[in-house]
Every structure is written in structure tokens, then in C-alpha cells.
């Protein structure tokens, strides 16, 4: 029986693990693990004996995968990290995504430069997935500010959705063997064609698990005021699909800005979705006042959730993997900020409190009951 909450927090200076009871009143913090090295992705795989994984993105000595089998008390490196095959010509710059696969020890890993790797032995060895890594579009993708990264892996039976910045949304319907660009309705603001076939700067994709085919996307918005070639592109930043990602439509109307990084869906209600709108230019809280915005009707309208946040003089960023939600009966939201705060949103984000105030800048947050 799961009776503890485990939060895995990837930061600029290593991985931290927080553990607390289901009432979420108090969390104890362990870490940093990984020697002060940046962690851009983490995973709490609670199938069977829980395993906590983290990518340790060492600018000196390259990429490592860390794993813990004792709830994040100790970590060790796996035998190897993903690496491009000899003669490929690419070299790993970063590891952006770790997700559990269908097999008991199966992991999928998205990296920079954008490519996908798979492990069937809990991260001890890795094989590049050619269907996307050597896709005919791959050499035409280009890096955004965060680098050319494959940052999102969403599995749905034989379907697999990938988010690539800057590449767009790619869909596999054969378990991750072959992929097609699926970006109908996904806009881009940084190229003349407002709706290219591929090359969008997708920020995050989140599935609504209870409704087959429903997905939400935080895309790179903030182009309403663009008056160059192609004209303004309002409300391209927050999108929804109801056909397994084949087509997308905007649900950004009612938000203060359509720019942001994370998007999170309520684990028990497919119509409840959360975003963190940011000022498109500075990419921090608009007007210095943090707020999470929630829709309870699948994106038709939005409400501001800000009870407990500072009301002014607060300028942080919440990165694409830094917000998540637990799966308890009355779930809570969690997000980490670039200035090292971990916030907890009780009652589905109605009441916010700062759990940790002074961690290193936070890249990613994952939570699980263990």
C-alpha cells in the first residue's frame, strides 16, 4: 500500500528528494545527489520496487544516468548513458526526458540534440531509436534557446507522442518504431509560415488519460503582436487535440498570455488543466505576480489561482518539466521555480504554500506515491 509521497527535484546543482506523508504537512529533504551537476530530467518509477532516476548533465565529463532503489537515499550511476552510435557525427549535449516504457525495466529517454533512446534493462544500456532520431526531418530541426531537445515522451498504448523544440509534435502509431509529424493547427511565430508542417517550438504535451485521444499542449506562444512576415499569430500557445494529436486547436482565449512552459492535466478529470502563463518577452511572472491558471472545462475558460503567492515583486520562471500533480484522491500540484522555490498547491491549486524556499534553480519536478 502506497503511503508516502516522494518528490524528485532536479536542479542546477544536483538532485534533491523530498519525502512526506500523504497529508503533505511536512517534507524532509535529501540531497544534493550528483555532485552539484545540473539535472534536467527525473523519473519516479513506482512499478514494483520504486526506482528514482535522474539525468546528471555534467559539462565536464558528459551525461550520466543516476538511479536509486532505496527511495532516493543513495544514487549510483548506471553502467552507461545514451550515446550516439559511432559514425553518426552527433554528440550528446543533454538529457531532457526520462519516461517508463511498457516493459518492467523499459525506459525511454529524450536527449539533445533531439533524438530518442530506449533501454530494456533499467538504464544500464541504451539503443538509439532510428525512427525519430534519423527521421528525414531531423537534420532540418533547429535549436531554440534551450537547445535542440526532445523533451516530451507520452506513451498511449501503441501510440507515442514526442515533443521536440524546435521540431514540433511527432506521433508514432506502431509503438515507437516510425514517426510522422502531426502539427496541424500548431502555430509557429519565428518562421514566415505561421503553420509549418514541422519545426514548431512545442514546450510540453500532456495527455488526459481518461479520454482516448485527448491531449493538451503548451506551445511557444507570445506572437500576438508580431507584425513581420506572416502577420500576428494570436493564441497559438495553448492547444488541445481530441484526435490523438492529428489536429490541434487553440484554447488560449481567456489567459493573460499564451506563453508558458509546463502544462499539467488533473489525474482524475480530463477537463481540468493547469498552465503557468509568463510574460513572453521576459518569461517571468506577468507584473511580478505569480499565478497558476486552471480550466475546468477543457480549455473553454480559465480561472486565476494565486492564493498564497506573493502579490508583487516576484519574477521567477517555471520550466517545462517543473510542474506536476500527485495522483491522490484530492490531488495537489507542485512546481519548482528558477529561483529555487518548491511550491505546493493544495485543493487542486486553490491554496499555495512554499515548501522549500532556497534550493538551487529548479529544472524539473516529479512526484509519486510510494
Amino acid at each position: 500500500m502506497s503511503d508516502r509521497i516522494l518528490i524528485s527535484i532536479g536542479t542546477r546543482k544536483g538532485l534533491f528528494v523530498a519525502e512526506g506523508a500523504k497529508n503533505r504537512r511536512k517534507f524532509t529533504l535529501r540531497g544534493p545527489f550528483g555532485g552539484g551537476v545540473g539535472v534536467y530530467s527525473t523519473l519516479v518509477d513506482n512499478r514494483g520496487t520504486p526506482r528514482v532516476y535522474a539525468s546528471s548533465c555534467n559539462p565536464f565529463f558528459g551525461m550520466k544516468i543516476l538511479v536509486s532503489t532505496d527511495l532516493g537515499n543513495k544514487f549510483k550511476e548506471t553502467a552507461s548513458a545514451p550515446c550516439f552510435p559511432e559514425g553518426d557525427g552527433r554528440a550528446l549535449n543533454n538529457i531532457w526526458s526520462l519516461e517508463a516504457g511498457p516493459g518492467k525495466k523499459e525506459l525511454w529517454c529524450g536527449v539533445e540534440p533531439a533524438a530518442l533512446f530506449r533501454s530494456t534493462d533499467a538504464g544500464q544500456s541504451w539503443e538509439m531509436v532510428g525512427g525519430i532520431s534519423n527521421h528525414e526531418h531531423a537534420r532540418q530541426w533547429h535549436p531554440g534557446n534551450g537547445g535542440l531537445c526532445l523533451h516530451t515522451i507520452v506513451r498511449d498504448g501503441q501510440r507515442m507522442h514526442l515533443g521536440i523544440s524546435t521540431g514540433g509534435h511527432y506521433l508514432s502509431e506502431d509503438g515507437g518504431t516510425t514517426f510522422q509529424a502531426a502539427n496541424t493547427g500548431v502555430g509557429a511565430g519565428f518562421v514566415p509560415d505561421p503553420y509549418p508542417v514541422f519545426g514548431q517550438c512545442v514546450h510540453k504535451i500532456a495527455p488526459a488519460r481518461q479520454v482516448p485521444g485527448r491531449l493538451y499542449m503548451q506551445n511557444h506562444g507570445g506572437w500576438a503582436e508580431w507584425h513581420g512576415p506572416g502577420g500576428p499569430r494570436p493564441e497559438i500557445g495553448v492547444l488541445r487535440s481530441d484526435d490523438h494529436g492529428q489536429t490541434w486547436h487553440s484554447i488560449a482565449k481567456g489567459l493573460p498570455t499564451d506563453f508558458g512552459f509546463p502544462i499539467v492535466v488533473h489525474p482524475h478529470d480530463p477537463d481540468v488543466v493547469f498552465v503557468v502563463p509568463l510574460d513572453p518577452m521576459t518569461r517571468v511572472c506577468p507584473h511580478g505576480a505569480p499565478a497558476v491558471w486552471r480550466s475546468q472545462n477543457g480549455g473553454k475558460s480559465w480561472q486565476k489561482l494565486a492564493r498564497g503567492f506573493p502579490k508583487k515583486e516576484t519574477y521567477f520562471t517555471v520550466l517545462r518539466d517543473a510542474m506536476t500533480m500527485d495522483e491522490l484522491k484530492n490531488p495537489a500540484l507542485y512546481f519548482g521555480t528558477t529561483n529555487g522555490q518548491l511550491w505546493l498547491g493544495r485543493e487542486g491549486g486553490e491554496e499555495w504554500e512554499c515548501v522549500f524556499d532556497s534550493l538551487p534553480g529548479i529544472h524539473c519536478v516529479k512526484v509519486a506515491t510510494v
Binding site: G35, P59, F60, F61, G62, S80, C83, F84, P85, E86, D88, G89, R90, A91, L92
Partner: protein
């Protein structure tokens, strides 16, 4: 004669905790090829998949940074010692 190749403490877990490994080769590049055969994890920590020395790794032959000589073609001779340093960087 094998050339002594000094390993910083932080990487010694990749080579059975040795502070020095001895490598065969006439140039720094050849030493790294030997390192790749003998200690693949250590090699991966110093070089990326293309064989390039990582950006923040500096290799010295005795007191000379190889970037100021002939890079990976820098010759090594009997009595030379090669050392691994982390470049100054961070934040």
C-alpha cells in the same frame, strides 16, 4: 614504454580507483585510443561520441597544454607524463 596518464580523483571510479593508468601510443590521440580500449567509461568521460575531447577537459603533456602545441597530434616521448585537468568554468 607506456606513458603515465594521471587521473583526477573525481574520475577514478571509472578506472578501479587508479590515480595513474599507463597507455600505449606515440601521440596524445593514440593514448586516448588506448584509453578507449582499456577504460571505456573513463574515455567517455573525457571524450564525446565523435572522439572530440570534451570542451571543459584540458590535457597537458608535462606542463604544456596540448591546445598550445598540436592538440591530439602532440607527440609523447619516454619520460613524459600526461595529466587531465578540468578547465576553469562554472557558475
Amino acid at each position: 614504454m607506456p606513458t603515465p596518464f594521471q587521473i583526477p580523483r573525481i574520475l577514478r571510479s571509472c578506472c578501479d580507483d587508479c590515480d595513474v593508468v599507463r597507455l600505449e601510443g606515440q601521440t596524445v590521440g593514440e593514448l586516448l585510443q588506448d584509453l578507449r580500449r582499456e577504460y571505456p567509461r573513463l574515455h567517455r568521460s573525457l571524450c564525446d561520441e565523435t572522439g572530440a575531447v570534451r570542451r571543459h577537459i584540458h590535457l597537458f603533456v608535462n606542463d604544456e597544454f596540448i591546445g598550445h602545441r598540436h592538440g591530439l597530434d602532440t607527440p609523447v616521448r619516454q619520460g613524459d607524463v600526461v595529466s587531465v585537468f578540468q578547465a576553469v568554468s562554472g557558475g
